[in-house]
């Protein structure tokens, strides 16, 4: 579940850990690639995606939140 971090691109700067409003990266050590400790608490507003200087994060929406259209 969200967010998904591309380990090849992430430089461990910690921006997402700093800003995530729900603190889903709780417990991540400084300088490390972020750990998604609380994926269930993601709010999917995409702050981490917007603010990642490397573009290393994308969100995967849980299936029950799939948008409905025709």
């Amino acid at each position: 579940m969200p967010p998904i971090i591309n380990r090849d691109i992430c430089n461990g700067c910690g921006k997402c850990v700093e800003i995530c409003p729900l603190d889903v990266f709780f417990g991540t050590e400084k300088g490390e690639i972020p750990v998604v400790t609380y994926p269930d608490e993601c709010f999917h507003e995409g702050s981490c995606v917007m603010d990642c200087p490397k573009g290393a994060i994308k969100l995967r929406l849980p299936l029950p939140m799939m948008i409905i259209y025709k």
């Binding site: 729900l22 603190d23 259209y69 025709k70």
Partner: protein
């Protein structure tokens, strides 16, 4: 548990729009200011990922204020405005243009293509009062401004209780770090509550997905709960709110969509538009957000937000504003699904019930408690409301701090120690309830006993049940770390607010909006201009009706 002590003149609890605007103003008046924020002010709160509508009066656009004023009551929030003192509403709109100019100068673009652009949240042919602004980075800008002015921002700290002196005035507050086991005691001459609305009281539309909501779960009614426990008045808690938007992906921004709401046969649901109109959107959703649910229940659903026929430019316009309104997550999902926005119709739904109301404060931000101020969604709603009254609260809290006697938090040492041992108990428990379990219990009680069907028998039964839950939560909640401790404290606040929703709903013996009393079907016109209050007197909740001052 380790303790850290901090001292300031003005403490802003919550670093959203209101809290940051308050901090900036209080600093301008020379007060020492701390902003205590549960997340990080850069992206926290209901405005964290951005907004695109700023309700305001701009003389060069609207002309005469009195005309603007009359038209105001035909748009969004009209019902809510009638429940506010005229002095309050006038102060709000008379001060909006100053904020527009300030924000623009600070780097929040308030103009679109060089002009003030008004669109959405308005009926065709009537005045528009929602300025389109590029608010995606409003929180980083306001954070930068607060720091530049010299405010101290303390992130990842959840303040959960206010501290009073023997004479009843506020002298500080107590919080926890959400990242490590630490208590932070704030000594302050005045305190401003700007903690936001009250999310998470009712079940989310998606089972199991606690955070599939318009507002994140961090917005947990902390301000209301703290204010009540300190003796301040809460208002209109029982008048629930409901939003609507894209089905299964709960996002705010209904008025940013440029489409026509159509039923499954393609017939427009409302009378306002027949083709996508970027100026007005489709106001049907704001007249009745429950229309989606009503259609579904009557077998006429689903209802779609239909963008068919929208021009390329107007589609780009809509997408731009959805980005500003914090819908980046939704847009990337749309792109990944390969949905062709301009040729598709997105199903809309009525979202979950939300508790409404707030803390009673006047236009100066003053509450009934000396030294305690409130602003933002803790009191009302919308961005411009938070900005204007945040600034006002900051001004008045700073002025009060200048004349207030020096606070001495040590006088409340026994209370602080009692709070610390309560926290240690929750952290130390090995068997018990995690917050997720307790919030599910709260939501089912709220939904079944104080939801869309309300009556004396249901409400009195529900009040007993929520009180049982409260006792159980206090004696059984457990937290494995500081983050979970934050959730537990949020939950205890939500339960306190929930109990007051029951008490207020029981006492409102009429049907009004979503407060549907099956035993009192009529909307009582005698209550049209009255505000329903609840406050604590001698440890017990007491309700009261007061007149709106028009």
């Amino acid at each position: 548990m380790q303790e850290e002590k901090k001292r300031c003149d003005v403490l802003c609890i919550g670093g959203g729009i209101a809290g940051l605007m308050a901090a900036i103003k209080a600093r301008e008046l020379g007060a020492n200011v701390i902003v205590a924020e549960k997340s990080n002010t850069l992206r926290s709160g209901a405005a964290g990922a951005g907004n695109d509508h700023f309700q305001c009066y701009i003389p060069e656009v609207h002309g005469d204020f009195d005309f603007f004023w009359r038209e105001l009551f035909y748009g969004q929030l009209a019902g809510g405005l009638r429940k506010m003192d005229t002095e309050y509403v006038r102060y709000w709109y008379e001060n909006t243009f100053d904020i527009v100019k300030l924000w623009d100068s600070w780097g929040i673009p308030m103009k679109y293509e060089g002009r003030y652009e008004f669109a959405g949240h308005g009926f065709p042919g009537r005045q528009l009062n929602h300025l389109k602004y590029s608010g995606k980075n409003q929180k980083p800008v306001l954070t930068g401004k607060a720091l530049e002015k010299g405010a101290e921002i303390v992130n990842r700290v959840m303040v959960f209780d206010l501290i009073k002196d023997k004479d009843g005035s506020i002298i500080g507050a107590i919080g926890i770090s959400t990242r490590e086991d630490k208590v932070i005691v704030f000594e302050a001459k005045s305190v401003i509550l700007g903690t936001g609305a009250c999310s998470g009281m009712y079940p989310a539309v998606t089972a199991g997905a606690h955070n599939n909501r318009g507002r994140p779960l961090t917005i947990s009614g902390d301000g209301r709960a703290m204010a009540y426990r300190a003796g301040a008045e809460l208002k209109e808690l029982e008048l629930a709110a409901q939003h609507a938007g894209p089905k299964y992906l709960v996002r705010y921004g209904q008025a940013t969509w440029v489409g026509v709401l159509r039923d499954s046969d393609g017939k427009p649901v409302g009378p306002y538009v027949t083709k996508p109109d970027k100026r007005y959107g489709d106001m049907t959703i704001e007249v009745n957000k429950a229309v989606f649910d009503e259609y579904r229940k009557s077998g006429k659903g689903p209802i779609y937000m239909d963008m068919n026929g929208i021009s390329k430019q107007d589609l780009e316009y809509m997408v731009y504003w959805l980005q500003q309104e914090g819908n980046e997550g939704l847009l990337s999902h749309i792109a990944e699904e390969g949905i062709n926005f301009g040729k598709s119709a997105i199903e809309f739904q009525t979202f979950e019930m939300e508790a409404r109301g707030g803390i009673r404060a006047n236009y100066r931000g003053e509450t009934a408690i000396k030294g305690l101020y409130a602003a933002g969604d803790d009191v009302g709603s919308t961005i411009s409301h938070a900005a204007v009254f945040g600034r006002s609260a900051g001004e008045n809290a700073a002025k009060y701090a200048k004349i207030a006697k020096a606070a001495n938090i040590e006088k409340a040492r026994p209370d602080i120690e009692a709070e610390k041992s309560r926290l240690e108990e929750i952290r130390g428990r090995k068997d018990g309830a995690k917050w997720q379990e307790a919030i599910s219990a709260l939501q089912q009680i709220m939904s079944d006993y104080c939801g869309y069907v309300r009556s004396e028998s249901l409400l009195s039964a529900g009040l007993n049940i929520i009180r049982r839950l409260k006792n159980k939560a206090h004696s059984s909640l457990m937290a494995g770390n500081a983050h979970e401790l934050m959730h537990c404290l949020q939950l205890l606040n939500q339960i306190d607010v929930g109990e007051l929703v029951f008490i207020s709903a029981y006492d409102r013996k009429e049907t009004r909006e979503l407060h549907i009393r099956t035993d009192y079907r009529i909307t009582n016109p005698l209550l049209n201009d009255k505000i329903h209050l609840v406050k604590q007197v001698d440890g017990k909740p007491v309700t009261e009706w007061i007149e709106v001052k028009h």
